[in-house]
C-alpha cells in the first residue's frame, strides 16, 4: 500500500478520521494533522521518551510508531489528561511539588506516571524510578518528579478518584 489513506483514531476520547501516509509517525499526525502539539518530539531514536503518549493505556514512543499501525486504537495525549477543565491529580501534584521546570518532558512524564498508577496504584519509590526511567529530564534532577508521583498516588488512593 502506498499513498494516502484515511484511518480512524480515538484520541482523548474523540473519534478522528485522518488522512495519513504510511511513513507518517503518530507524532507527526498528532502534532501536524490534529494540531495536538502538547506531545513533543526530541531525539527520534527512542532514547529521551519526550514523545510518549498512551496507546490503549500503555506508554508508547509516538516518534517510533507509524500512525497507520495504531489505527482504531485509543490514544491518550497530554491534552486529554485534564477533564472538564479539572486537572488530573498528577498534574496538580507536579505543579505543587515543583516537578515542572522547562516543561518539555512534562507531558511524557505525566502520561508515563498515569500509566504507572493505572497499573500499580501504590508504587514504591523504586518502582517509580524504574517506570519513569525512559523519560529524560535535563532540568529537575528528577527528585521533585518522584516526590510528586508519590504524593499523587497517595491522594488518588485516598480520594478513590483521579480528579478532585
Amino acid at each position: 500500500m502506498r499513498g494516502k489513506q484515511v484511518i480512524k483514531l480515538t484520541v482523548n476520547g474523540e473519534p478522528y478520521e485522518v488522512e495519513v501516509e504510511p511513513h507518517m509517525t503518530l507524532l507527526e499526525v498528532l502534532r501536524d494533522k490534529l494540531n495536538l502539539t502538547g506531545t513533543k518530539g526530541s531525539c527520534g531514536v527512542g532514547e529521551c521518551g519526550t514523545c510518549t503518549v498512551l496507546v490503549d493505556g500503555k506508554p508508547f514512543l509516538s516518534c517510533l510508531t507509524l500512525a497507520i499501525t495504531v489505527r482504531d486504537k485509543n490514544i491518550l495525549t497530554i491534552e486529554g489528561l485534564a477533564r472538564d477543565k479539572k486537572l488530573h491529580i498528577l498534574q496538580k501534584a507536579f505543579l505543587e511539588h515543583g516537578a515542572v521546570q522547562c516543561g518539555f518532558c512534562t507531558p511524557a512524564m505525566l502520561l508515563t506516571a498515569k500509566a504507572l498508577l493505572d497499573e500499580n496504584p501504590n508504587p514504591t519509590r523504586e518502582e517509580i524510578r524504574e517506570y519513569i526511567s525512559g523519560v529524560l529530564c535535563r532540568c529537575t534532577g528528577y527528585v521533585k518528579i518522584i516526590e510528586a508521583i508519590m504524593s499523587a498516588a497517595e491522594e488518588i488512593r485516598r480520594r478513590g478518584s483521579e480528579y478532585e
Binding site: 500500500m1 502506498r2 507527526e28 527512542g46 532514547e47 506508554p59 517510533l64 499501525t69 525512559g134
Partner: protein
C-alpha cells in the same frame, strides 16, 4: 539529519505465509516491521534505506508466552513488557527475566518485541545473551517451509542473521531447564538506560555441588554474541572452587574479540569479561549454596 522518515510502501499481511511471500518477492528492498523501535529510528537516521515495510503486527496468533513440556514459547509479537510481566518467565526463567528487567525504558519494553530485539543482530543485546545461555531455538518460517535453529547459529556477523530471503522468525523456544539449574545475568552500562558495554549470562546445572553443565554467553565483545566455550570447559565437572572460577574468567577474557567504540574501550571490555564472568558464577554459587 532529518526529523521524518522516508516515504515507503506499506504491507500488512494477515498470515505468516503472506508475509513470507512478500519478503521473498521484494527481497532486500523491504523489512519486517515488528515494534518498530529499532527499525524506524534507523530509517529516520538514514542508516538503512527501505522501499517497503512488511508490518506483521496484525498477524493473529503471534503474541503469546506460555510454558509447556517443550519449554517456554514466545511469539514474534510478544513484547518485552509482556515477558517481563509473565509469571512463567519471572519464576521459571529468571535469567531471561533479569535480562529484560535490566532494560529500563518502559516505552521500549511496551513496543519492542523480543524477536525484534534478536533480529537486530546487535552483539549488545541483553535478551540475546540471556537466551544464548538458555540455549533458545529460533522458529523460522519461509514461503514453503518452516525450520528451527539454535540461536547460537542465528548470527553471521554484525547485523547479519542466517535468515534466508522470504524468511521471518515466528517465535522462540526456550527448552525446559533441568533440575538444579541456576543462572546469573550481569551487565555494565554508562548510564542506567544505555545498552551494555559488556553483558554476561551464565547458566549452570549443579548436582550434588558439582557443575554438571554450564553455558556462558557474552555480549558486546565480538561481532556477534558469543559463547565462552573454553571458560565453560574450565568449570564443567568442577565444584566451582575459587581457582576454577578464576581460571574460567581468565579464559573467557581470552576468548573474546572486543573493539573500542563510543561506549567503551576494547581493553576495558576484555577486562570486564573477566570480572563479570567471575561475579556471575559467584552469584550462582551463592544462590545454589555452594561453599568455597
Amino acid at each position: 539529519m532529518v526529523r521524518v522518515l522516508t516515504p515507503f510502501e506499506y504491507f500488512e499481511p494477515k498470515t505468516v505465509e503472506e508475509a513470507s511471500n512478500l519478503l521473498r518477492d521484494y527481497g532486500e528492498k523491504v523489512r519486517v516491521l515488528a515494534g518498530g523501535v529499532d527499525l524506524l529510528a534507523r530509517i529516520r537516521r538514514r542508516e538503512i534505506q527501505v522501499e517497503g515495510l512488511v508490518c506483521i503486527q496484525r498477524i493473529p496468533g503471534l503474541d503469546y508466552v506460555r510454558q509447556d513440556s517443550e519449554g517456554l514459547k514466545i511469539g514474534a509479537l510478544t513484547t518485552l513488557r509482556t515477558l517481563e510481566r509473565s509469571q512463567e518467565v519471572r519464576e521459571n526463567y529468571r535469567l531471561l527475566f533479569d535480562a529484560i528487567h535490566s532494560i529500563h525504558s518502559i516505552q521500549v519494553k511496551n513496543m519492542g518485541t523480543a524477536v525484534g530485539n534478536l533480529c537486530i543482530a546487535t552483539p549488545a543485546s541483553d535478551v540475546a545473551v540471556s537466551l544464548l545461555a538458555l540455549d533458545a531455538q529460533m522458529k523460522i518460517a519461509g514461503p514453503s517451509s518452516e525450520r528451527s535453529m539454535p540461536l547460537e547459529n542465528f548470527y553471521l556477523g554484525v547485523k547479519r542473521t542466517a535468515l534466508q530471503p522470504g524468511e521471518l522468525v515466528t517465535g522462540i523456544l526456550v527448552p525446559p531447564l533441568p533440575k538444579g539449574s541456576f543462572g546469573a545475568f550481569m551487565k555494565l552500562v554508562r548510564t542506567a538506560t544505555d545498552i551494555a558495554k559488556v553483558n554476561v549470562a551464565v547458566r549452570a546445572t549443579l548436582r550434588n555441588g558439582g557443575c554438571e553443565e554450564v553455558r556462558i554467553a557474552l555480549g558486546s565483545v565480538a561481532p556477534t554474541i558469543v559463547r565462552a566455550r573454553k571458560a565453560e570447559e574450565a568449570l564443567r565437572g568442577t565444584r566451582l572452587e575459587r581457582e576454577a572460577v578464576v581460571e574460567a574468567a581468565e579464559r573467557a577474557a581470552e576468548e573474546v574479540n572486543p573493539i573500542t567504540d563510543i561506549r567503551s574501550t576494547a581493553e576495558y571490555r576484555r577486562e570486564m569479561v573477566k570480572v563479570l564472568t567471575r561475579r556471575a558464577v559467584e552469584k550462582i554459587k551463592v544462590e545454589a549454596g555452594v561453599k568455597g
